[in-house]
Each structure stands twice: as C-alpha cells, then as structure tokens.
C-alpha cells in the first residue's frame, strides 16, 4: 500500500526536528506515566487526549515503540499489584465486590490507555506481532490478579460456595455472580473453563451424587423424578442467569448422570412405585415425566420400552391363560380392548406418541394374543355379540369405533383363517336368524376385513349377503305364483349356495306334515325355474312363529325350527317322553336336549312342563303341555340356549377343518413359488411360503414339508438328483 512510501518520507522529516533532545524518551514517557496514574485514579478530566496521543505518536515514530511497550507493561504490572493487594485485603463477602469494582476500573482505564496509545497499536504492534494494548491488559489482569496465589483459590471457592448456598435455597447476589463469570469469560474461554467450569462441574457431581443417594433412600419413584426434574430446571436457570450458555449441556449431563443414569434401574424397578406400578395405576403424569427424563439417559427409553413390553406380555399372558377369564368370550375381548386402550392412551399422553413404543406395544399384544389359540374364535364372538345386540347407545360412529378396535386386535392374530372360519359361522347364524341389527354395520365390518386381507378373504362372506337377497326375491315370486291358496302355514326360504356358507352336516329332521306340504310346493317351484340344482333343507338353522293358546290366553311364540317340531307334537298329545319326542322328530340328540331345555327350563318361557323338575334334560324325562304358562307379552320369543363358545369336540372339529383348509392353500403357494423359481432349496421354500401366507396364518414348517412330499408324489415337483435338498418344478 501507499503507507510504505508515506512512512519513509515522514520519518526523514521528523528526525531532524527532535532527535536533538537525548532525554526525549524519558520526558515523553514521564508524561504518559503520569497520565496513566491519573487515569487509574479516576482523574482523567484534566488530561488532553491530543497531547498524550501526540506524545505516544512521536515516540513510536522515532522507533521507541519496543521501549514504550516494555515500559507500559511494567507500569500496568505495578498498578495491578496494587489493586491485587486491596482485593486480597477485602474481607468475607466483600471480596467479590472488591474484585468486581477493581475489574471495572481496570477495564475502563485500559480502554483509555488503548485509545491514547492507539498509534502504537496500529503500527508498532501489528508489525512486531505483539499483543495489542487492551489484550495485554487483560492478560496481565489474569496473571497478576486472578491467578495471584492469594486470590485464585479464594475466587473459585467463593463462587462454588455461593452456588452451593443457592442450591440449598438461599438467595445470593446473582448480579455479582454474573459479572464475575463474565470477567472470567472476557479473559478467554479457557480461563473460564479451567478456573471455574471444571471445578463447578466436579463439585456439582459430588453434590448430586450425595443428594440422589439421599433421595432414593426416602422417596418413591414418582417423587424422585419430580425432584430430579426440578433440579434440572434449576441448573438450567442458573446457567442462563450467570454462566456461559455452553455450560448448560455440561451441567445437565452431570445431573443426568448422577441423578438419573446411575439410579435408572433402581427407579424403574422400584417396588410399589416403579414403572410397572405407574402402568397399573395409570399415572400419566409420572410416566411422561419418566419418559422425558430418561430421554436424556443412554438406553433410557429402550429400558422403559422393554419393561413395558414385558409387563404387557406378562399381564396379557395372565389374561389369556386365566381359565376364569376366558369363560366369557365377550368379556375376554372387552378386556383386551380395554388393555389396548389403556396403553394407547399412555403412549399418546405420556410417551408423546413415540413410534418405537407403539411398535413394542403391538408386538407384545401380538405375542400374548396368539398364546391362546381360541383368540380368533373369541374375537369373532365379540363381533357377533356387538352386531347382534347393537352397541349400547349405538349410533353409527360408536359401532364404527368398536369395529375399528376389533380390527386392531384382528391384525395381531396370526391365524386369520381361523377367524375367518368362525366369522363365517357366526355371520351365517346371524343372517339366518335375522338377528343382525344393522345391515350397515355388517357391511362396514366386511369392508374392513376386505381392506385388511383382500378380496379372497371376504368373497364368500359377500356371497352370503347376495344369497339372502336373491332368496327374498324368489320367495316373493313363489307366493305371487301361489296366490289363492294361502291357507296353512307360510314358509320363507333362504337359498344358500353350498360353498359360500359354512357347511354343517345335518340330518334333516321330520317336519310336521303341514310344513312338509308347503316345502314340497316350494321345491317344485324353485326347481321349475332353476334347472339342474339340488335343494336340501337345513332344518337346524331356521325359525318359526306359531300361535298357541294357554288356558284361553293367546300367545305368539317365536321359536326355532326344532322347537316348532317339538311343540307341534303337543297339538295331538299332552304329555310325551323324551324318547317319544326324539323318535317323532329325529332331531339329533344334543340339539334336542338344548331345544327342550329352552322350552321347559327357562323361567318365564316354560311353555312345557317337565317331570321330574330339574335344570337338566335326561333321557327319562317326560314333558307336558304347560297350560299355566303366562306372560305379559303377546309375542314370546323363546331363544335356544345358545352355544356361545364351542364345546371341546366342536373346537377340535373346527381346528381340524381349518387344518384341512390350509393344505390346499399351502400347496397352491408352493406351486406358485416353484413355477416362477423352477429350482429352489427346502429352506427357501419354507420362508417364501411363510411370507406369502402370513397375512392369513403362520404355516407350520412340518406341515409345509408334508405338502411338498405330497406334491412330489403327485409329480408336481421332484428332488434334484445331485443335491437332495433342491426341488425342481415339473411342468
């Protein structure tokens, strides 16, 4: 730059003027020295800036820069030593105040000195790479005041003592604390860190380690967490008030470590108040506190999560395996739903909807629901119950929410095909007995299943709905055809496509002659319009309305087809033995018993009288027409004692049927896979098949193996001649 040129010119000019005076430096320095003294004495108003500046300017100009710098350093040292003494002398709490006052003085003086000596800063110091005047002043302050032997330790101790007192609840002078830490920061962040922060963190660690020990002995978990939370907030506030913001993370990590990490296991597993108890007692507030605090701790959340998962599994397992609790399937499913609701709420309220927690919850549910292999049946029963009765206070939305919740449980099921089987049965019963309350709810359930499992899953169920509709039309046209001949009983027939409906092997009972007559007419009509079909009567599923008089009172009884058959017998006889009835109606043993039980043993609906009186039907009982039957209602509905749950043999049978149904599915899957892969080894087939079928059920590898063998037998596949583990697809 042009300054180079400038200087050479100028220096020449000035040299001639003043170099003559040999005492030039001493004189000039004396002037500056006096001025600095005045500045430290707060007495600068009499000084002329211009004069001082010019003095310093000339000194530097005449190459006295190094000497001036040296003198200045010495001079500042002198002033600082003086200050140091007065700070050392300050007693007790005045110590910090004196330190602060002196610091402020020094700072101000330093600014003025810097301004006067600006020319030196600008030229000499930049070219000789020395510390600028102001920074020099700070360094000297650090070395001669803060690090002075009688001040250094005392300063740190005083600060820490004050912080300790504040932790114990005393009010301290925060302004003074702030300015002191600010001073340390001004001296450089390393000064702050080494002289204060380091000690502060150490002392805090030992303080909190002691305090947490004390808390954990006498507080329960919730209480302890509350205290920790408060301490954390306090520390953060303290930092924001009078420390460097960078300290915040350090001190909180100290608190985290001392108060949380070290005691985490003990807190979570604390007896009577630990995590499990919080779950049991729905302590949302405590839970969210724990969630938030342990977020700060390594492994905190994973620990909470695993405790939650194992607790859910435990309690779920107790629920599904308690023989008392699985007596009532509706209650059972309701319990599951409640349990799910409870944890959903905990996760949404306390765990801020954490995805990982939701996943843990889901897998726990999946785990224990599938422990009980009757879960699919029970869930179907639950839906059945809801759709039969309608949900209490049911508006459509409520029904929807209940169904949605059920679908959630459904998703956990591994054996979805079992559910399908039961659902089909229950739906059939519901549809045939006309007991569905809301067609819409039925449809919506169907749609849900469809979206969940695909068309295949629900096609048969939809077929059932269609059958009912066409049946209705058929019956109407039948009666339209039959017009005129309306005497005698009317029948309503539902034509069910075999295959869509659950097949129940049924030996048709002997219908009363009146019914046989009209049924045969219908058969003729139906087969007349539809060629080549076969019609079989499923008498076990129908129902009937009959009119009866009891001692002059007329009642209309709504009964099942079986019950009707039984009651019709009493048109011609007053008393019949069990054997008589069985012979006359040919109703299967178990069904007949149930049917008689509901006719004779239910209070208020006992249209028959049984001898001897007892709760159960035995083969030797005799039944009489009960002319003393009364009821407030004209229409009396006599329900069959419903087989809610399946009995043990039925269950086995269903299971067997399910297993049977799985075979072709597994085979189909194997063939599909092999067709595309041509050659594959055993284990890969098993994985692939499992993957393809898991939306419906979890196939057992042994079963898959059997299917593969069967396919080999039927020459769909063959074993590789070299590697016996490989299978080859035969086109």
């Amino acid at each position: 730059m042009s300054s180079q040129k400038k200087r050479t010119l100028k220096i020449d000019a000035f040299k001639h003027k003043v170099e003559a005076d040999p005492k030039f430096f001493d004189k000039s320095w004396k002037k500056l020295e006096d001025a600095i003294r005045e500045i430290y004495n707060h007495n600068a108003s009499g000084l002329s800036f211009e004069e001082l500046y010019r003095t310093a300017y000339n000194l530097v100009l005449h190459k006295h820069g190094p000497k001036l710098y040296e003198k200045l350093t010495e001079n500042l040292k002198g002033h600082l030593k003086e200050m140091c003494r007065s700070i050392e002398d300050a007693q007790g709490s005045l110590f910090l105040e004196e330190l602060q006052r002196r610091w402020a003085d020094h700072n101000k003086a330093l600014q003025m000195i810097r301004d006067i000596l600006m020319y030196m800063d600008r030229t000499f110091i930049t070219s000789s790479k020395k510390t600028p005047v102001f920074d020099l002043g700070l360094e000297l302050w650090r070395d001669f005041v803060v690090h002075a032997p009688k001040i250094y330790g005392r300063l740190v101790d005083t600060l820490l003592e004050l912080i300790h007192r504040e932790r114990m609840g005393e009010v301290i002078n925060r302004g003074l604390m702030r300015s002191t830490t600010k001073m340390l920061l001004d001296l450089g962040s390393s000064v702050y860190q080494d002289d204060f922060e380091k000690h502060f963190l150490e002392v805090s660690a030992s303080f909190y380690s002691g305090e947490s020990q004390q808390f954990i002995e006498c507080c329960d978990c919730g209480e302890y967490l509350k205290k920790s939370e408060r301490r954390l907030a306090e520390e953060l506030e303290r930092v924001s008030q009078y420390m460097d913001a960078k300290t915040a993370d350090k001190i909180t990590s100290v608190v985290d470590k001392e108060m949380l990490s070290k005691h985490m296991q003990r807190l979570i597993h604390m007896e009577n108040s630990g995590l499990v108890n919080m779950f049991v007692d729905d302590k949302h507030e405590d839970l969210s506190r724990m969630y938030n605090l342990f977020k700060r701790v390594p492994d905190g959340h994973s620990t909470i999560r695993s405790v939650m998962a194992s607790h859910v599994k435990e309690s779920g397992k107790a629920l599904v395996s308690d023989p008392e609790k699985i007596k009532d399937p509706i209650e059972f499913v309701q319990r599951l739903l409640n349990e799910k609701d409870k944890y959903d709420e905990i996760i949404s309220v306390s765990f801020s909807n954490d995805k990982t927690f939701q996943n843990a919850l889901n897998s726990s549910f999946e785990n224990f629901i599938n422990l009980n292999n009757r879960s699919p049946e029970f869930i179907s029963l639950f839906v059945d119950d809801k759709l039969r009765k309608g949900v209490k206070g049911a508006n459509e939305e409520d029904v929807e929410t209940v169904l949605d919740k059920v679908m959630m449980l459904f998703r956990y099921l591994q054996e979805k095909d079992v559910f399908e089987k039961y659902y089909k049965q229950h739906l059939a019963k519901r549809l045939l007995s006309g007991k569905t309350t809301s067609d819409e709810a039925e449809r919506s359930m169907l749609v849900k299943l469809k979206t969940e499992c695909g068309y295949q899953f629900t096609s048969k169920l939809e077929g059932m709905f269609n059958d009912l509709k066409t049946s209705h039309d058929t019956v109407q046209s039948f009666y339209a055809n039959l017009s005129g001949d309306t005497d005698g009983p009317t029948v309503s027939v539902q034509i069910l496509t075999t295959g869509s409906w659950p097949t129940q092997p049924c030996t048709p009972c002997k219908l009363p002659p009146e019914i046989v007559d009209i049924s045969e007419k219908f058969r003729a009509f139906y087969l007349g319009t539809h060629n080549g079909r076969r019609l079989t009567w499923q008498t076990n599923m129908g129902n009937a309305d009959i009119k009866a008089t009891f001692g002059g009172r007329r009642h209309e009884l709504n009964v099942s087809t079986y019950q009707m058959c039984v009651l019709m017998l009493f048109n011609s006889a007053d008393g019949l033995t069990y054997g008589d009835i069985e012979q006359a109606t040919a109703i299967p043993h178990a069904d007949l018993k149930r049917c008689l039980q509901s006719l004779a043993c239910v209070k208020g609906k006992n249209v028959l009288r049984k001898e001897p009186m007892s709760k159960d039907i035995s083969d030797n009982d005799t039944f009489y027409y009960n002319d003393k039957f009364t009821s407030k209602l004209v229409k009396v509905k006599i329900g069959t004692v419903v087989a809610q749950k399946e009995t043990e043999p039925e269950k086995l049978e269903t299971r067997q049927r399910v297993e049977e149904d799985r075979k072709p599915q597994i085979e189909a899957a194997i063939v599909r896979i092999m067709k595309s892969r041509r050659v594959l080894d055993h284990n890969s087939i098993i994985t692939e098949v499992t993957k393809q079928l898991q939306s419906r059920f979890l196939p057992n590898p042994v079963v898959i193996k059997k299917r593969i063998e069967s396919l080999i037998e039927r020459e769909f596949l063959e074993r590789d001649k070299v590697d016996r583990k490989m299978y080859r697809y035969l086109a």
């Binding site: 010119l9 000019a13 500045i39 108003s45 000084l47 002329s48 800036f49 211009e50 600006m118 020319y119």
Partner: protein, 119 residues
C-alpha cells in the same frame, strides 16, 4: 488520493464498539496558528484519532470542551483536512465520486497529518 478513501473505510471497521453512538453537534479544531475550524462531529469522526478522542470513556478535556488543539498542524493543512472530512463523508455515503483536489506543494505535509489523524 483514493488511498485515503480506503483508509477511512478501514477506520470505520477499526473502532466498531463506539460506532453505535450517533455523533451530534459540532467540534472546534484549532490549528498551530490559532485558527479555529468548527466542523460537524460526524465529519470529524472520519478521523479515527478524533473519533477516539471524542468518544473515549474517561472524559478527557477535549471531550468536555468540544475543542481540539493541533500544535503541529498548520492552518492551510487543517483547512484541507476539514475539506477532506466533508468530501469523505459525502463519498462514503456512496452516491457519487469526484476528484479530491490536492495541490502538489502541500502533499507531504498533508500525508503526515493524515497518518497522525489516522484518516
């Protein structure tokens, strides 16, 4: 003389802690021969030395009395300097640039003063 313009720009950066204070009023600059120049403080602060002088926290006599004596600067030079202050002020607002005329015979002295005033 663009070199001076640059120096003024540096000066601005150099002392940024007091830059927030809006200078107001006027200051009297007195030459070696006793001539007084009254200039806006704003203009005077183009010189870093003057800026420090007028804003230093200690309360030097210059700050109190609002006048600065320059026993080593002659009247014509100080006059030229004052002109420069205003020129620079105008120039630094960035609207236009015009040549700042300097007579060759005072160049040396003016440069020395500029160094002194850190302008």
């Amino acid at each position: 003389m663009l070199g001076k313009g640059e120096a003024a720009g540096q000066a601005h950066l150099h002392k940024d802690d007091d830059g927030g204070e809006q200078p107001s009023g006027v200051v009297k600059l007195i030459s070696a021969e006793g001539f007084e120049f009254v200039v806006d403080k704003k203009a005077a602060m183009v010189s870093n030395t003057l800026r420090n002088m007028l804003t230093s926290p200690g309360g030097f006599s210059e700050t109190r009395e609002g006048e600065v004596r320059f026993p080593e600067i002659s009247t014509p030079i100080l006059e030229k300097i004052c002109q420069y202050f205003y020129w620079s002020l105008h120039y630094s607002s960035g609207k236009e640039t015009s040549e700042f005329q300097i007579e060759p015979e005072i160049t040396l002295e003016l440069m020395m003063a500029a160094n002194y005033l850190d302008t």
